[in-house]
């Protein structure tokens, strides 16, 4: 998808001025947070699980090549095919080849961020294959011609009223006077429309929450069951997953699974957890005839062994964005690429380049709430700071910022000079301000005073006052 992260500031301004979006974002602020706390409180071993999950992923990443090869071997043993894709382009080509070989005109899709990352829908449409999103949220935004604004709740930016209007516009074969006032009615209508698509699809495409090396299985979790219909009914099932999704064993997968839904939606488990291994076997009641897995790198292997490796532990629960004050303010689209919020602020520069996404790791107050709630203990603020260091080293941040910083640092590095400068500056400023208690405007401080007053500094620094106090004390003793 087209990256608009360079326009983050403009995107944010638009988002802040969008009343519909602001109304929708209230749900993120309230719902997810309380539910997560409840689920966590009900599981005393939650923190021990987090430590264990981190250890599992760290171990896997250290031996990633080994586990991926083992995974491939097991998929092949089960009768499936593994395709290695270094780039988004490679992955798209493989999908198209499979679709062409299957003579596919329609493909159904389970919810998958990785297919967003490779821009699969636009590509397939251009190639004459019709993709149909089957997750309700994804279906809504596909109708709207949008992209997800949240990694687990893709349509969280859309209000119920907007969905109703979209359905009335797009489902024009249904009676116009039907009642769509309740969310259940909208869900029911989407289900009925999608039911027909499941049966007409030739290929079903899903992502994967986990790949299990021990068994060659792919695992998806959903709440609507749409993923299962997507992967069982069509003749061909294609799994697209990035390489860091692999875990060694089913037991490892189960442990991390216990963190996933609790951190994401506050559920103990998602409604459906589906493990698929290879195509349909002779005795199976159902399942696809062909089973393909596309393993996508797309820049991830270059994160291994760097200060960004920890990011590859991410299980895409969305807890970081659910707790991020910046995400709460502007929503996901402002970030300008596939992955929003704190995890996106670290991942986007890795995958799409820091020169295009420099704003993202900077647009954080470093409040640390994302790291505090991350089930995989990913030090997100620390990694955003690493990106800032890389930007600074490459001279990518604005010149005014750099020179201002260097000038300030010149004083901060030299205490005597600093004391002198501050002891001269305050009396001068105090003269200028004529003893007003605060400013509504101050030259060079427009970023601050545009939205808030600035308290006026005193006429003498603490250090000056302290020195005088100490001198007085000495005088009194003498």
């Amino acid at each position: 998808m087209q990256i608009t992260s360079p326009a983050f500031k403009e995107n944010a301004r638009t988002a802040l001025a969008d009343p519909q979006l602001q109304k929708a974002l209230v749900h993120v602020r309230s719902g997810f947070i309380d539910k997560r706390v409840k689920a966590m409180d009900a599981l005393p071993e939650f923190d021990a699980l987090r430590d264990s999950a981190r250890a599992i992923k760290d171990h896997t990443l250290t031996h990633l090549d080994l586990y991926l090869e083992r995974y491939e071997e097991k998929v092949r043993e089960a009768g499936g095919v593994v395709h290695w894709a270094e780039t988004a382009d490679d992955a798209r080509s493989v999908v198209l080849e499979i679709c062409r070989a299957a003579g596919a005109r329609t493909v159904t899709k389970g919810k998958s961020m990785i297919t967003e990352e490779i821009g699969l829908n636009d590509f397939l449409e251009k190639e004459g294959v019709r993709p149909v999103e089957t997750d309700l949220g994804e279906y809504i935004i596909q109708l709207r011609g949008e992209h997800p604004s949240h990694i687990i709740a893709p349509a969280v930016h859309v209000t119920r009223d907007q969905v109703e209007a979209d359905f009335r516009r797009e489902h024009d074969h249904l009676r116009p006077d039907r009642d769509l006032s309740e969310p259940e009615a909208l869900l029911g209508e989407a289900r009925r429309v999608l039911r027909a698509e499941y049966f007409s699809a030739d290929v079903g495409i899903t992502g994967a929450n986990f790949l299990v090396a021990e068994t060659g299985s792919s695992v998806i979790v959903t709440n609507e069951g749409n993923g299962d219909l997507t992967q069982i009914l069509p003749r061909v099932h294609v799994v697209i997953a990035s390489i860091e999704k692999v875990v060694p064993t089913l037991e490892d997968m189960s442990q991390i699974l216990r963190l996933l839904a609790r951190s994401a939606t506050g559920q103990d488990m998602s409604v459906y957890t589906t493990v698929s291994t290879g195509p349909r076997r002779p005795d199976d009641p159902d399942g696809p005839e062909e089973y393909h897995v596309i393993l996508l790198d797309n820049g991830r292997s270059s994160m291994l062994g760097t200060e960004f490796q920890d990011m590859l532990r991410c299980i895409r629960c969305g807890a970081c964005m659910n707790h991020c004050p910046v995400y709460h303010a502007v929503g996901g689209h402002a970030y300008g690429w596939v992955y929003p919020g704190p995890m996106g602020a670290v991942l986007t520069p890795s995958l799409a380049g820091i020169d295009k996404s420099g704003h993202l790791p900077n647009a954080s107050t470093f409040c640390g709430r994302c790291e505090a709630v991350c089930p995989m203990h990913i030090p997100l603020p620390k990694m955003m700071r690493h990106w800032r260091e890389r930007e600074f080293a490459r001279g990518l941040n604005p010149a005014t910022q750099r020179y201002g910083l260097r000038a300030w640092a010149l004083f901060a590095r030299h205490p005597r000079l600093y004391r002198l400068a501050t002891s001269l500056a305050l009396p001068a400023l105090s003269f200028f301000t004529a003893r007003r208690p605060r400013f509504r405007y101050l030259p060079l401080a427009g970023g601050w005073t545009r939205n808030r007053d600035l308290p006026a500094p005193p006429s003498r620094t603490f250090m000056q006052q302290w020195r005088e106090r100490e001198a007085e004390k000495q005088g009194a003793h003498a």
Partner: protein, 258 residues
């Protein structure tokens, strides 16, 4: 030996650049609280800033230079105390990480970090203070500043001491532990987003009905005070140390300085 133990601890006060420039009364309140608790307080003149503006802007070289100065300036003290969770967090948690791989400075930074404490935590967790001798008639609400809360675990300590202030009634606000939108340079680099976040905060402050807003970090306090005043809200804003030191009758933030 027993004389050694009874010797009052020597505390070096890390004033913080914002307190030095904008709110000296926080420095004097900190000194009073520490002296009342039996400490000998000194203020090394060789301190400037903890280095966060450089550190959080990706300027590692300047940060390291500032960190070295700070460590040297405070090396002789038993404790280093700062009236800010954010600056104390920088000194305690981030300085050691800065010197990773430099054996000499890593050791010095680790020894330094072990002696650094945020003011509230020092009073309660290290000195075992349970109450203060102060009066503050009125209702207050307390904002948990992010770094103090999440890096240093400051939450119960200020509330505990505040509960001993005579006449003070605590009115907790909703989402007291959510960021106020200050974020150091963030608030001027992304003013629109910062503004939205602080608006959310001031509406929670207002809803608490408290007359006074307290917190332990001057950056956050100036941000919230500035917004409250721009909105014409009559909530007084102070550093928690001022109230605990019985200095809550001086002009509030943005209402004048001595």
């Amino acid at each position: 030996m027993s004389d050694e133990i009874r010797k009052p601890p020597r505390v070096g006060l890390f004033v913080t650049c914002l307190v030095d420039l904008f709110r000296p009364s926080v420095g004097f309140a900190s000194v009073k609280l520490l002296e009342d608790a039996g400490c000998n307080v000194e203020v090394p003149m060789a301190q400037t800033c903890c280095g966060q503006p450089a550190y959080n802007s990706g300027d590692r070289d300047d940060t390291v230079a500032i960190a070295r100065n700070t460590i040297e300036a405070f090396e002789e003290f038993d404790y280093v105390v700062a009236p800010s969770g954010s600056c104390a967090g920088m000194l305690k948690k981030h300085y050691p990480a800065l010197f990773k791989g430099d054996a000499h400075w890593e050791t010095r930074a680790a020894a330094f970090a072990a002696r650094v404490h945020e003011l509230m935590s020092f009073l309660v967790d290290v000195l075992g203070m349970e109450k203060v001798d102060a009066v503050h008639e009125g209702t207050v609400t307390y904002h948990d500043s992010c770094a103090g809360l999440r890096e240093l675990g400051i939450a119960g300590q200020p509330r505990r001491l505040l509960s001993s202030v005579s006449g003070l009634e605590m009115r907790e606000m909703r989402d007291a532990d959510v960021c106020c939108g200050f974020g150091g340079t963030f608030c001027v680099k992304y003013p629109d987003i910062s503004n939205r976040i602080v608006e959310e905060k001031t509406s929670n402050i207002k809803a608490s009905g408290a007359e006074t807003l307290l917190a332990g970090d001057l950056g956050c306090l100036m941000n919230m005070a500035g917004k409250l005043q721009r909105q014409g809200m009559d909530v007084k804003v102070r550093h928690v140390a001022e109230v605990l030191a019985g200095m809550g009758d001086t002009p509030a933030i943005g209402k004048g300085n001595r």
